[in-house]
Symmetry: C2
Subunit: 557 residues, 2 copies
Amino acid sequence: MHSRKIIIIGGVAAGMKTACRLRRLDANADITVIDRSENISYGACPLPYYIEGLYDDLMEVRKTPAGALRDETFFANVKGFTTLTRTEATAIDRQAKTVSIRSLADDTTEVLNYDILVMATGNTPILPPVPGHDLNGVLPLKTMEQAEQLDQLADQAKNAVVVGGGLIGLEVAEALTKRGIQVTLLEMKDQVMATALDFSSAALVHRELRKNGVNLRLSEPLQRIEGKTSVEKVVTDQGEYPADMVVMAIGVRPVVSLAADAGIALGATGAIAVNDQMLTNDPAIYAVGDCVESIDLMSHKPVYVPLGSTANKHGRVAANAICGHPDRFPGILGSLVVKVFDLNVARTGLSAEDARLNGYDSVSLTATSPDIAHLYPGNKPIIIKLIADRSSRKLLGAQIVGPGVVDKRIDIVVSALTMGATVDQLAQFDLCYAPPFANAMDALHQAANTMRNKLDGLADSMSACEAYERLNGNEPVMLLDVRSPAEYEEIRIPGATLVPLGALRQRLDEIPKDQLIIPFCKLSLRGFEAQIILQQAGFTNVCYMEGGVLAWPYEYE
Amino acid sequence: MHSRKIIIIGGVAAGMKTACRLRRLDANADITVIDRSENISYGACPLPYYIEGLYDDLMEVRKTPAGALRDETFFANVKGFTTLTRTEATAIDRQAKTVSIRSLADDTTEVLNYDILVMATGNTPILPPVPGHDLNGVLPLKTMEQAEQLDQLADQAKNAVVVGGGLIGLEVAEALTKRGIQVTLLEMKDQVMATALDFSSAALVHRELRKNGVNLRLSEPLQRIEGKTSVEKVVTDQGEYPADMVVMAIGVRPVVSLAADAGIALGATGAIAVNDQMLTNDPAIYAVGDCVESIDLMSHKPVYVPLGSTANKHGRVAANAICGHPDRFPGILGSLVVKVFDLNVARTGLSAEDARLNGYDSVSLTATSPDIAHLYPGNKPIIIKLIADRSSRKLLGAQIVGPGVVDKRIDIVVSALTMGATVDQLAQFDLCYAPPFANAMDALHQAANTMRNKLDGLADSMSACEAYERLNGNEPVMLLDVRSPAEYEEIRIPGATLVPLGALRQRLDEIPKDQLIIPFCKLSLRGFEAQIILQQAGFTNVCYMEGGVLAWPYEYE
């Protein structure tokens, strides 16, 4: 019996997943995985937590939950395939179906035949070629070796600059801050997580970073890095920042040159184009993981969002396809979650800005709620932004930020988005409830119902950003705080007038009829109640502020 | 303009929600809520935590998250409607459209007209008429007054008996145990949460109860309660249990006599029957909350599952319907979650037993995984049981038990069930991932993929309960532990043989070919790997044990 030769180039997440699944489906295939590094099959996502000091042995990122090291012997004995480490694939000959490889250990070369080839070449950090980028102490965080270097640099560093406010930049900024280092975070855009979050959500992250001592510099691109042999400072057009170490985290790009040189087609994003079986334009070549682009399930456009969660799914689908086992990879929602100090930040689907760019007539809604019963110890608020299509009422996306539990609610929305649910359906989901876990009406139900009120014209509301603009505009506006005097004493929004909700029906004569009234409270509910009371009393120009004081991303008094 | 008179009988969750929403939709309606108690609008679900001592002021259960007490004044001033407390509705005249009421304060009576009537009469605990049920110190937990009494009894009690292993019984058993009281939990069935969980899931709860010192007595119905004026002991056919207090928690039934006397139709469950607008058989009478039955979204049959989460949704739908605003209540999934000491327990949809009773050809699958990245501090295992329809591959239900985060995964399944997702779709959900929140392949993805393997005939597996039966059967069986020697030393299943997975390919000659081999590991993955290795080596009678050591509900060595 002919035993198929399958070569997989790249032995981290997607490549190894493909190999393991292949072996389970096909006892006879001759499977070889090739990787440049010695450190195969490692998890890159936990590396920032190593720098933070949350675990001591860096090799943990290569271990199974049961503690087995995923090395060549493990893959041979347990998984049953061959791994060639410190081996580079230098060329692919698609006609001859061969891969040329070179050993990094002894520089020997070899040509391997394949029946099936799988590209799992991953991503590489983008390193801007600014002056000083090659100084010692300037590096990205992608490999275990870099994590080790950054950990050692952090032992000595007093000041660090992190360039880029994406996921890795945020995680490293937190890790270094917790090591006692003064961190400056440089971001060229006016917000962190610019491709993931709308400004209103990102602004809450900005506050958390600053609260924890990070010197956050927005709209400030890196100009150059200075130092003799090692970095000493980072220079922008707005200032100079002392730095004993610089972490480059402006993003990654797919590693595609080997594929492109062989004529494997790239997609619009520059990553390898594949169909929903992970097959490239060559019927013998598949591609998986961070070197390929995916279809966005909401926009139906190709996107490049390299994440470990996607890579694992790719590997399974590719192996199934290679073995003729029905499966398909439908696409992604750009779901992600990140912990930034005491704030949890998650998103999925389209942002309001994405929805606009994709031509949707969308409605956004922000609602703040406690994550669990307010009388159960440990409850914390979360601020939910939902985006929905106005006519179909289908959910388009969500962003949730807060000290409370956000990943749970984003994952419910992930499920809802994947299945095409409307906000009306979401509002009726029979989510599980008990005080230690949720409210009888979960935060997500509250948000969905508030969105329904808005879609139905029952609630007139605006975001905190809109309210801020109106407040600073030319027309007179009354920002009406309907909380209790005690709450007002504790923290307040500048320029607001206090009329507690319970007294509002009796004090209507204090509310001007000739200007826009913007009621608000701590969360959202009393602000909405105030809008209803005022409208039922004949006020025609009332629009409550969504999300309350807790969603206000500007200064408090 | 005619202002509609709307009377709502019952002012706890569903009734008050209906009233509040009505006022927001209709400025002119004349809305009156009637309740027997002084303590209206309270949350019953947090009462066990009061007994546990997690909050000090019982009135918290009547307060808004902002701290406002929801009393008559609050509902008048903030919400804008009338509440008559300590007032009993004694009769409904549907022809005359009147409700007769009686003041419990001064015994005066009155007859009120209505245009629309809403029944929100709730539930009442079932109190078995055993001898001694009326002794002092024997009571259910339903009202704030009872919570206060139980709290006071607990101050003096050394021994308590809780009758009934449902949600309230479990929560009270934990609360009293944490107060230092020796608790005996009597359950007449052979498992706790009998209507919610399959035995395999409940068995894990049994272990947790016993580990925490609860004297769990299964299959042991209450016979009588003894004492002079106060309870002294509880007697069953198997023993006597000293008791300074007895909590009756065998279940609740809907309060329907007022409705039934007026000819409002009851459903098959004995609760009030309503359509998806919460309308009864009388076009002027709606019913909401714990006095009505719901449609089960999976079985399409009427069920009686009174929960606060459902009650709130009912109220909104009823108010919308009354005001002609489009909405419908689609039904429920019987979703619930409960904390039992350090174990979180949640379920939704059909159990395996429900699926069988409803005529499904269903497949069940148990898989154990860490809830977050295994190298991130605080990760804990969860044991997921999925139930799916064999031919359509649609999910039918799930049960998740473990010290880790279970509510998140159940709620994802809730969404999937509501929208009719298959296990294949669930496996591809783009759930959010970062090490503090999940694994790259979430526990739910692992479970879904394992279910796919089982449905596709790639994985031959059996539950721990099946393995236990085979082990204790007449045929020879090899229970094959493929964990590491260190894991084996720590804890093991009686009768298992150790061959670590990494050595299995080399030690195949030690495995008998003539008997059933049941490999297993700590979670599930290595057990499955072992099955594949053995099958690929020619072993034909191999079936791995799902969920590993952590899902084993019997004794360990």
